[in-house]
């Protein structure tokens, strides 16, 4: 908090120790998840199966991410890493001309997200990444079974498991928060994009903008650490590779995904 020239208490930015909180939270998640997965998690069990004759009709490699979707993901990843490093390295004592690289990466992220929104809305199956009733129903059953209560096994996933969908929602909220606040913050610095205008908002609104930008930023530290951890887990490598090569192998597909919920073009 700070005192404005008019005596008003205004927030100026997030408390930067929260970046350490975010790192510790993510590391805590790694430990808890690893222990749970190693000692407590039950083997995956799904209801339903795909008949062999239907499996035979499927291609050996199931297309999961188009080239455009993969390019978006990696451009977003590079810009997100640049944003996080340029934002937080100076806070841990690595000093450099960070603002220039930060706003440029922010513009790249914004452009890639705008592309993604259009691409997802008009080219991809827009609803495939959002949780549906079946996901909620299955999640409740999975929870009951984990606790030892009687419940039928969940159906196999659609294109994306619920965990993917939840993660996407988290990134959607935090990403949108940094992008929208970051867009307005571009007016506070010298760029070739806009004429500087520090007066479009009141001190309080600016303060809250900086605060929200920072909060979303520190949240992204934890979210991205968790994303990398999950991507590198042995049982998830098949999915991670699909973000590089674009496809899943058929065995993984029929074991984890329901062809009725994720319709794949057959041979």
């Amino acid at each position: 908090m700070a005192k404005s020239p008019w005596g008003q208490d205004v927030p100026v930015h997030v408390a930067f120790y929260l970046m350490y909180v975010a790192v510790i939270a993510a590391l805590g998640f790694f430990v808890v998840h690893s222990v749970w997965h190693r000692y407590y998690a039950k083997p995956e069990e799904f209801s339903g199966s795909t008949p062999a004759r239907e499996v035979a009709k499927l291609p050996e490699q199931i297309p999961r991410h188009s080239l455009a979707a993969r390019l978006f993901h990696w451009i977003m990843a590079v810009s997100m890493f640049t944003l996080l490093f340029t934002a937080f390295l100076p806070k841990v004592g690595v000093e450099f001309d960070w603002v220039k690289y930060h706003w440029m990466a922010g513009v790249a992220l914004t452009a890639s997200v705008i592309f993604h929104i259009f691409h997802a809305s008009f080219v991809m199956d827009f609803w495939s990444i959002w949780p549906d009733k079946q996901d909620i129903h299955d999640a409740i059953n999975r929870m009951k079974r984990f606790r030892g209560e009687a419940a039928p096994p969940p159906r196999r996933f659609a294109k994306y498991p619920l965990e993917n969908k939840m993660y996407h929602m988290s990134i959607f909220v935090t990403g949108l928060a940094v992008i929208i606040t970051g867009f307005f913050m571009l007016f506070r610095i010298k760029t070739p994009l806009f004429a500087r205008n520090s007066y479009m908002f009141s001190d309080m609104t600016w303060g809250l903008t900086y605060l929200l930008h920072g909060l979303a930023g520190v949240s992204l530290i934890a979210l991205i650490m968790i994303h990398i951890y999950m991507a590198l887990r042995p049982e998830k490598l098949v999915i991670s590779k699909s973000m590089v090569f674009g496809t899943l192998d058929r065995e993984h597909f029929v074991q984890h995904h329901d062809p009725e919920r994720w319709v794949v073009e057959t041979k």
Partner: protein
């Protein structure tokens, strides 16, 4: 506007007798410790109650931090050496007159008797919005009050401004950079030597500090190598009144001539950015050329390329241009255009 009170807020005062003790204290108290040299910057901050350190480490009792010593044809100046001692030192006068001129241009005789070379290069920005305690960028906030349409910014930056538009107020700093001085910094981990050019940093790199000094660091000495001894020097400071004032713009240059041509040169301006600016493009453009009016004109034009004046400091553009011209050509043909 902050009001100077007659007493300072409470703090714990340490007066170590050795560098090791001082470094130990700075390491122990970290961000809570304030390093006091001559006290001329310190007491403003403390009496205004803008800075409220819990510990003040007064360096005045450390004898090893004072004095000028010859070193490999150059000199080593203890950080606590007063500006008057620097000005009057026969070796500095004889070999590095540029620094003597710069130090003599600082403030007033009384202040130079008390002010130290280390304090002069480490002093904080003189922006009154910052000094008044507003939570501006330099104070850790998210706005520059000096860079607004109604701000009083006559003394502020025209070059290299990035969010904060305050300027470095040091007179000895440009001379030290022109002489390729090295700053000797000590902390608990050991000693590091930083070129003067890299000692001063701008807001692009770190907006809340003007130098590379961080909590725990102590500037112990400044070494001037023999490289530019007895070169052709030029120092000029323009200020609102002829004494006891900070520079509007100052310029320091060290040049070596080969006949009429400039063989090599270092030119540094201060008061135009948050750090002393070495004009490397000017140096490159004039090297190998005669030091005459034509070269000076060209240098002046290059010096102000990219300058972005604020509402009230447009005069600094021709001022810098002309000071650069004079540093190349000398004062015998001043052209105030």
């Amino acid at each position: 506007m902050a009001v100077i009170r007659d007493v300072m807020p409470e703090f714990e005062l340490f007066q170590p007798a050795t560098i090791d003790d001082a470094v130990g204290l700075l390491d122990k108290y970290g961000k809570n410790a304030w390093v006091m040299a001559g006290g001329l910057d310190t007491f403003d901050w403390l009496k205004d109650r803008i800075k409220r350190p819990s510990v003040v480490v007064d360096l005045s009792q450390i004898k090893e931090l004072t004095g000028v010593r010859e070193l490999d044809g150059g000199v080593e100046i203890g950080a606590m050496t007063t500006l008057t001692s620097v000005v009057n030192n026969p070796i500095i006068k004889a070999k590095f007159g540029l620094l003597a001129e710069g130090a003599e241009a600082a403030a007033s005789p009384q202040i130079r008797n008390q002010g130290t070379i280390g304090g002069n290069v480490s002093q904080d920005a003189r922006c009154w919005y910052y000094r008044s305690g507003w939570k501006c960028y330099r104070a850790g906030g998210n706005i520059c009050f000096a860079d607004t349409p109604t701000a009083i910014n006559r003394e502020h930056a025209i070059l290299d401004a990035e969010r904060c538009v305050a300027v470095s107020p040091s007179d000895s700093a440009p001379a030290l950079i022109a002489l390729d001085a090295k700053m000797v910094i000590r902390n608990k981990k050991g000693e590091r030597v930083v070129p003067a050019e890299e000692f001063f940093i701008g807001p692009k790199v770190e907006i809340t500090h003007m130098t590379v000094l961080r909590p725990g660091d102590l500037l112990v000495a400044i070494r001037i190598p023999a490289t530019w001894a007895n070169a052709h020097f030029y120092f000029e400071k323009v200020r609102d009144r002829p004494v006891w004032d900070f520079p509007l713009v100052n310029i320091a240059s060290a040049a070596k001539y080969n006949g009429d041509n400039i063989e090599s040169i270092r030119i540094v301006a201060n008061g135009v950015a948050a750090h002393p600016v070495r004009l490397v493009q000017v140096e490159a453009a004039v090297t190998g050329k005669p030091h005459n009016a034509a070269t000076a004109d060209e240098a002046g034009k290059i010096a102000v390329e990219g300058a972005v004046p604020l509402r009230h400091n447009g005069y600094k553009v021709p001022l810098l241009r002309n000071l650069v011209k004079r540093s190349i050509r000398g004062v015998e043909e001043p052209k105030w255009v």
